[in-house]
């Protein structure tokens, strides 16, 4: 009998831990999950405010005309911002209820392509095969990407005795993160920081333990810009270069803030006062992390091409030499159909997409999640793309 009751306790515990793992999420939006309910229940009744809304383009449907249930799903990286957007949009709408499920980029894209979602959120652009599929679902022009959430990834250093930002170039970053440079007073670091008095503390690299878009974008930067980093871009940290690791953005920040000499990478919005950040060398200058510099690198990037005529997926210029840009960024796209099966869906897509790219929504995301608001020219381009949405 005793044994049976322990089996039961163990079963309950393991279920509880599963649930907790499921909430772990990707980019450290831990604890934000609860807002989903609020977002959906807040939906109704206060549609009267809607009149105040409507950005730039006059011929897009206004939020106040939208009602009904709409679904989206995908990346968890922009979850915090997305939930805020949804809750604001619902407040302005004439009774629309929008739900966003953080099921991961890949699952979001496949849910979108199977018609389950009206829009998808994704850390990566669709590949060719997926675009082919989207021409079945979204009319002859298929689906297109909007770069609605630009998140700079900061390289954070916790080093006693250093309270100014540290200058580094891509090669030195590569050597540090692959474990070749082991001490902060190394020649290679000092060379970039003649004014800093660097201690001889050991460097402890802290990286993400779970597969994550942050790791993928960071390793993509290292792989493209650094000659000392030998591995390809991947969401999982290369096993040959493992050091200390922790689960989620909150985990790495928490761990790194306890270790003197720690260096890690994380969403800029989550890096707190325990750290100094790295000014990355681009085109001979050291660029401090900032919203403007992050948005600037998107403007300096080439369109990925190969998709819909109004597609806005980018090949981020990681190895750009344009001064004033900060190349370690992550873009979360929202993916939309060019042609929706019903007028209601098309109106919703236009109104919601237009709201997301609006200055107000972008600033809201910057406030709650520390993202970089998109530039004015990107916004104009996006509104033009949104204008192409039609009902089939």
């Amino acid at each position: 009998m005793k044994v049976a009751s322990f089996g039961r306790a163990a079963a309950i515990l393991s279920v509880a831990s599963l649930a907790l793992v499921a909430c772990g999420g990707d980019n450290g939006n831990d604890g934000e999950d609860t807002t989903t309910d609020e977002a959906t229940t807040e939906a109704t009744d206060n549609g009267t405010e809607g009149g105040a809304e409507e950005e730039a383009s006059g011929d897009l449907p206004s939020a106040a005309d939208i009602s009904g249930n709409f679904y989206g799903g995908g990346a968890s990286s922009h979850e915090t911002a997305m939930l805020e957007w949804i809750s604001e949009f619902e407040g302005q709408s004439g009774g629309a209820a929008v739900e966003y499920a953080s099921v991961g980029s890949g699952n979001g894209r496949s849910g979108f392509l199977s018609g389950e979602y009206q829009f998808a959120g994704s850390d990566a652009a669709m590949d060719e095969g997926e675009y082919e599929d989207s021409t079945n679902q979204c009319g002859p022009d298929g689906a297109f990407h909007l770069p609605t959430y630009i998140a700079p990834i900061g390289v954070a250093i916790n080093l006693e005795g250093v309270d100014e930002n540290v200058n580094l170039d891509a090669d030195t970053l590569g050597s540090i993160f692959s474990g070749e440079i082991t001490s902060w007073d190394d020649e290679a670091i000092a060379e970039h920081n003649p004014d800093l008095d660097l201690p001889s503390t050991n460097i402890t690299v802290v990286h993400r333990q779970d597969t994550s878009g942050t790791t993928e974008n960071f390793t993509e930067y290292l792989a493209a810009a650094s000659s000392t980093w030998e591995w390809d871009a991947d969401g999982e940290w290369p096993s040959e270069a493992t050091a200390e690791s922790a689960e989620g953005t909150g985990g790495v920040i928490g761990l790194a803030s306890e270790i003197d000499g720690a260096i890690t990478y994380a969403d800029a919005g989550r890096i707190d006062d325990n750290f100094v950040t790295v000014n990355v060398e681009v085109g001979g200058d050291y660029t401090e992390i900032s919203s403007e510099a992050a948005a600037a690198v998107v403007s300096a990037s080439e369109p990925a091409g190969g998709g819909a005529p109004n597609d806005m997926a980018f090949e981020i210029a990681r190895d750009t030499e344009e001064a004033g840009t900060y190349p370690i960024i992550q873009i979360a796209y929202t993916i939309w159909c060019n042609e929706y099966p019903s007028q209601d869906d098309a109106d919703f897509a236009q109104a919601f997409a237009a709201y997301i790219v609006s200055e107000e929504a972008q600033q809201l995301a910057a406030d709650v999640a520390g993202s970089a608001p998109i530039s004015e020219e990107l916004r104009e381009e996006a509104l033009e793309a949104i204008g192409q949405i039609s009902a089939g």
Binding site: A10, S14, T204, E236, E247, L255
Partner: protein, 343 residues
């Protein structure tokens, strides 16, 4: 008690549920003006019990089917990107899986090496040394340990225990570094496989303790008194009567603890800086366990991708290991049937 009622319950149910029927005799009688309603209730309950029993088998079968069905893609899949080149990749999967299996076993063995002796000691103290009132409250506190969620253990291990163990690891490395398991450069944070093992040992302690305590209490008083009467000290009495009597129960308790340690996810995820396998158990970023690897990588793996299949397949491997451990425990217990607490 009417003789036909006890007969009918004896036919359909085991004695234990028969006893329950008898204890609710009063309600049974008032409900059943004749025997027909009582027999109907009896049959109904028997059906429910049977349904529950078969239901658990069906669920297990579904889990096993799901795992096997989805594991297939891990060993039989396309070469990257080439659609018509499906072939077996067993070697690839094994090279992915074996470090995780070894890591899982290492952490479980460390946990048991620490927990088993302590648990047996605590159980003996409660059953044979402590005054009755103290033994009840100690037993209660130990049971309470089992009710703490594993994330809490994980958080404790991560923020408190791991940094405390760093000096110990440095010492081990300095003086015993010539033994491979204490070699390498010791972790500056203490987030190592051995710390994870220590945290797990606290988690499995209550399970082993409870089973052992129940068994120790059941030692026949006559044996104990006979040993004492022959002039044995208390310790001799325990080694002569209690421990031989309880051997099967101790082993089944340890196996239950092993089952818990093998499957523990959250605490390991939080405590361990994972990485590839290595000899040293005090180095940073080494070792990983099956459950923590699945938990870390499953949320971001795309359904249907090879990596996704691999994660399910490694889950199947854990399922099989746990099954083997349970069967082994059953087998050992069955050899000491009359003493075991698990039957």
């Amino acid at each position: 008690m009417s003789s036909d009622e006890s007969q009918s319950s004896g036919q359909t149910l085991q004695t234990r549920s028969g006893r329950r029927t008898r204890s609710s005799e009063a309600t049974g009688n008032s409900l059943a003006s004749g025997d027909r309603a009582g027999a109907g209730l009896d049959r109904g309950f028997a059906g429910l019990a049977r349904f529950a029993g078969i239901g658990i088998l069906i669920i297990l079968a579904f889990v096993a089917f799901f795992l096997v069905y989805n594991s297939w893609g891990a060993i039989y899949h396309d070469q990257d990107g080439q659609a018509d080149s499906a072939s077996f990749h067993i070697g690839e999967f094994i090279s992915h899986a074996w470090p995780l299996v070894i890591g899982t076993l290492i952490v479980s063995v460390i946990a048991l090496l620490i927990a088993a002796p302590v648990a047996i000691g605590v159980a003996l103290y409660i059953s044979h040394y402590a005054p009755p009132r103290a033994s009840r409250s100690i037993g209660y506190v130990i049971d309470l340990l089992a009710a703490i969620p594993s994330v809490v253990y994980g958080a404790w291990g991560m923020t408190f225990l791991a940094p405390q163990l760093v000096p110990l690891y440095n010492w081990l490395n300095e003086y015993l570094g010539w033994i491979p398991i204490f070699g390498g450069s010791p972790s500056p944070t203490g987030r190592t496989i051995i710390t994870a093992g220590v945290v797990l040992s606290v988690m499995v302690l209550p399970i082993i303790t409870s089973v052992c305590r129940e068994i120790f209490i059941q030692t026949p008083k006559l044996h104990e008194e006979a040993a004492l009467a022959l002039g044995a000290t208390r310790w001799e009495m325990i080694t002569m009567t209690v421990l031989p009597f309880a051997r099967g129960g101790i082993i089944s308790g340890i196996m239950l603890g092993l089952g818990r340690a093998l499957g523990e996810t959250m605490a390991v995820v939080l405590v361990l800086s994972s990485g590839p396998i290595a000899w040293s158990i005090i180095q940073s970023g080494r070792h990983d366990t099956i459950p923590s690897n699945i938990a870390s990588n499953f949320p971001e793996s795309r359904e249907g991708s090879v990596h996704w299949h691999e994660l399910i397949a490694i889950g199947l491997v854990l399922f099989v290991i746990t099954l083997l451990v349970n069967m082994l425990a059953r087998w050992i217990v069955s050899r000491h049937k009359e003493f075991s607490g698990a039957n």
